[in-house]
């Protein structure tokens, strides 16, 4: 019942195949450039090297899950410093707010991996199957040797791209050259092959078959973005006040009776280039990822019929209303600089500056102590009270360091690590391996007279030329009363 679908809309809509037409123009070239840059960043980054000396990996960007380190050029992040990563994510979020409030869904249109890879896949598709109409015909054609050959070639190339995509991902998590060798020798960890398989499958399916459905049905981002857009954000707008009534489809006689037809000749170029298969002339809608390809398509048509460009163009909802009322267009820069975007920009740079400052001043040597609780204290034969601690010294430099552990406070106490108790030692020298935590059990002895709980601190001092200090609070516990 083909009619019933229109009368009673189904809850589940069957996907309408989209065959976007190739187009050329300013925004298409911009998209080419952005695709080249983003793909280059994605594929090249893991292969960049960065010398960190003999004790740390030389991969510029590396998420070392096994050793729990995150390297990014000169920055090395330990698990307890994960707030830097959280800060980066917050910055990415606010950056998106900033971009969205200024230029709308630019992320969706230009930089989102789903858009970039779908775009790439569509180019492959056009290369093999031909442009829109040829694709359409091929789809309808019965299966024959030619169609099978074309399909297999297309899917094969898609699969290669997908494998390369998944393959590049795992290089961020291990030394890239070694991993590549292992992968080819079928010698890498199963999790590497598993990740590649999963990412290959998602790339192949999402980029090859689901495409705009990901944007329309799966991705939460469009919904969030629509909430962040306001009437001053740039969106792709069909200037209906200029285009309507449409020229095509009206009979010559009607045209003659009308005082004037609009600039739109209803050639449907904007619809046929749209990668999500929508008609922007129906107004702003969730399916529009603001890729601006329809602007390019329409500009070309306008050039051909000798009308000014920009029947479809970036415009804010506010400007659309102004122009509809007859006011002239305003410069775009006015929209970009307004309190909301400036506020986002300030917050964004503020967080960035705070993180840079924290990174610049963070200490690379750290000490913490955990007290033995069972027993809390031990009375020794000469009346001294002994507490035991497990001291951890964290050396965050990529070289082994000799450090001196000492105590601040607790006058008259001694520090030792086992064996006979020394008379008056308050310091202890240990070697901490490069980029790791050294654990040392220490005993602290002090007289029985004094507070039941006396605060003091363990201190650590690097013994190399560069120096560096740290301290960690602790308590010395005594029995309540001497029997």
């Amino acid at each position: 019942m083909p009619n019933a679908e229109h009368i009673a809309p189904s809850l589940y809509e069957k996907r309408k195949a989209v065959y976007p037409k190739a187009v050329d123009g300013f925004y298409r070239r911009l998209k080419w450039a952005i695709m080249a840059v983003t793909l280059a960043i994605y594929y090249v980054t893991p292969w960049l090297r960065w010398d960190r000396g003999p004790y740390a990996p030389d991969q510029a960007v590396l998420v070392d899950l096994a050793n729990r380190r995150f390297y990014m050029f000169a920055i090395e992040i330990w698990p307890h410093e994960f707030y830097y990563v959280a800060g980066l994510l917050v910055m990415a979020g606010i950056g998106l707010f900033l971009v969205t409030s200024a230029v709308g869904r630019a992320w969706c249109g230009y930089a989102c991996p789903q858009t970039v890879w779908t775009d790439l896949y569509q180019h492959v598709e056009r290369f093999i199957d031909g442009d829109r109409n040829a694709q359409f015909r091929l789809d309808k054609a019965p299966w024959g040797p030619a169609k099978i050959a074309k399909r297999l070639t297309k899917w094969g190339i898609w699969l290669l791209i997908a494998v390369a995509t998944g393959g590049a991902w795992v290089f961020y998590f291990a030394d890239a050259p070694t991993l590549l060798k292992d992968l080819l020798a079928l010698d890498a960890a199963p999790v590497a092959y598993g990740s590649i398989a999963v990412l290959t499958a998602t790339t192949f399916i999402l980029g090859g078959f689901m495409r705009e459905q990901v944007c329309v049905y799966m991705c939460p981002w469009p919904r969030i973005q629509t909430a962040m857009l306001d009437e001053k954000s740039l969106i792709v707008t069909y200037k209906d006040w200029r285009g309507e009534p449409r020229g095509h489809g009206l009979k010559k006689t009607q045209t003659a009776t009308l005082a004037e037809t609009g600039d739109c000749i209803d050639c449907l170029q904007c619809v046929s280039v749209c990668p999500t298969g929508i008609d922007i002339r129906e107004g702003p809608q969730i399916g529009c990822i603001t890729c601006a390809l329809c602007i390019d398509a329409c500009d070309k048509v306008m050039a051909q019929i000798g009308k000014p460009r920009g029947l479809i163009d970036y415009a804010s909802a506010e400007d659309a209303d102004r122009e509809r009322a007859g006011a002239p267009a305003r410069p775009v820069i006015r929209l970009l600089l307004r309190p909301r975007t400036i506020a986002y920009l300030l917050v964004w740079t503020g967080i960035g500056a705070a993180m840079l400052f924290a990174l610049g001043t963070r200490t690379r040597l750290d000490i913490s102590a955990q007290q033995d609780r069972n027993p809390l204290y031990v009375r020794l034969a000469d009346g001294t009270i002994r507490n035991s601690f497990t001291v951890k010294v964290r050396n965050m430099e990529a070289r082994p360091r000799a450090v001196e552990i000492g105590m601040d406070g607790l006058v008259g106490a001694v520090l030792w690590t086992g064996g006979a108790r020394p008379a008056a030692t308050r310091t202890l020298r240990i070697e901490v391996p490069a980029d790791s935590v050294a654990k040392q059990r220490v005993f602290v002895g002090a007289g029985a007279a004094g507070a039941v709980r006396e605060p003091f601190a363990f201190t650590v001092r690097a013994l190399d030329a560069e120096g560096g200090r740290g301290r960690g609070d602790a308590q010395f516990e005594r029995p309540e009363a001497t029997p």
């Binding site: 019942m1 034969a381 009346g383 086992g418 006979a420 070697e431 040392q440 005993f443 029997p483």
Partner: protein, 325 residues
């Protein structure tokens, strides 16, 4: 009641009932769901045949695969024993006084001892080995029978005051009061003296009388100065550590009825390796003493190659060099 009919919009048959104009479609189960359902029934039948499942009177069917959770457990234990075998063999082959030469083996012994202690020793000595009245604190540096690793091993192996074992640690304090060796007043004098030598009281007349009694009755075991004698497991009476309490009443009670704590001989029950591990653990608690320097130890034949040194955790080295300083 409406008739069963084909719904126009969906082409599906209705169930045939209707409430206020609301009808229900008789939508068939999705095929994938049905097949999953049938497959799980087949699987369940196969499962009950292969694995223990059907309850009988006194047990359940065993399953054709012969699997049991107890069997799994035994397999895991066997695998664990296998991975530990090299360490256990090394421990068995290393005399206890040579254990500290090999920090890695020592570390393994301490950890093994920690586990064994939790099972066999905590009942008396407490989970932190801090003891309680009558049960010595093993963290401190006050030892009745010796605190070096060899003495500890001996004590654990042979126990304390096991009457049916000749090698056991043995001594008997007379019950001076109960057996009438000393009169109650004399017991009090003696207690006063012990309080004085342990620095808890000022000397007085009673303590002076007690000093004479001490020299006569107690010095044999506790030493003339009261500092104890490990040969007899006689405690040092001058330090602040009291196994049975250091108050006047507690001391008098100890002199009156005597004390003799006992400990089982663990050697027979646990075997030499576990005893060694327990000794290493107790020694590591902080009060462990160095071995008495009875002549020079033979030159170490343990591998002292650079490779072995590199394999050692750096901390152990640092700790050692610190101890030497």
């Amino acid at each position: 009641m409406a008739e069963k009919r084909i719904d126009e919009a969906t082409g599906t048959q209705t169930m045939g009932h209707e409430w206020d104009g609301i009808e229900e479609l008789d939508t068939p189960m999705p095929r994938w769901w049905l097949w999953t359902f049938y497959a799980s029934i087949v699987f369940a039948v196969g499962y009950t045949v292969a694995y223990p499942a059907w309850p009988l009177i006194d047990r359940a069917t065993g399953g054709t695969l012969g699997w049991s959770s107890r069997g799994d457990f035994e397999k895991e234990m066997a695998a664990e024993a296998k991975t530990r075998a090299p360490i256990m063999l090394a421990l068995a082959a290393t005399p206890i006084d040579r254990l500290p030469d090999n920090p890695e083996l020592m570390h393994a012994a301490v950890e093994g001892g920690r586990a064994a202690f939790k099972v066999h020793c905590v009942q008396c000595h407490g989970s932190g080995a801090a003891g309680s009245k009558g049960y010595p604190n093993l963290n401190d540096d006050d030892w009745l029978w010796g605190g070096d690793i060899k003495s500890l091993q001996y004590t654990i192996e042979h126990g304390i005051r096991n009457p049916d074992h000749d090698q056991t640690r043995m001594s008997l304090m007379p019950a001076f009061g109960r057996d009438g060796i000393l009169k109650p007043a004399q017991v009090d004098d003696l207690a006063a003296h012990v309080r004085v030598i342990s620095g808890q009281e000022k000397p007085g007349a009673a303590a002076r009388r007690g000093a004479a009694l001490f020299a006569e009755n107690c010095a044999v075991c506790h030493g003339a100065d009261g500092k104890g004698l490990r040969e007899f497991g006689a405690p040092n009476l001058t330090d602040p550590i009291w196994l049975y309490g250091g108050s006047r009443e507690d001391i008098a009670a100890t002199i009156t009825t005597a004390r003799y704590g006992v400990m089982p001989r663990w050697g027979e029950k646990l075997g030499p390796v576990t005893v060694k591990m327990l000794a290493a653990y107790v020694h590591s608690l902080g009060g462990g003493e160095a071995l008495p320097a009875l002549g020079a130890l033979p030159v170490s034949d343990a591998p002292a190659t650079p490779v072995a040194d590199a394999a050692k955790p750096p901390l152990a080295d640092a700790a050692k060099s610190d101890a030497q300083r």
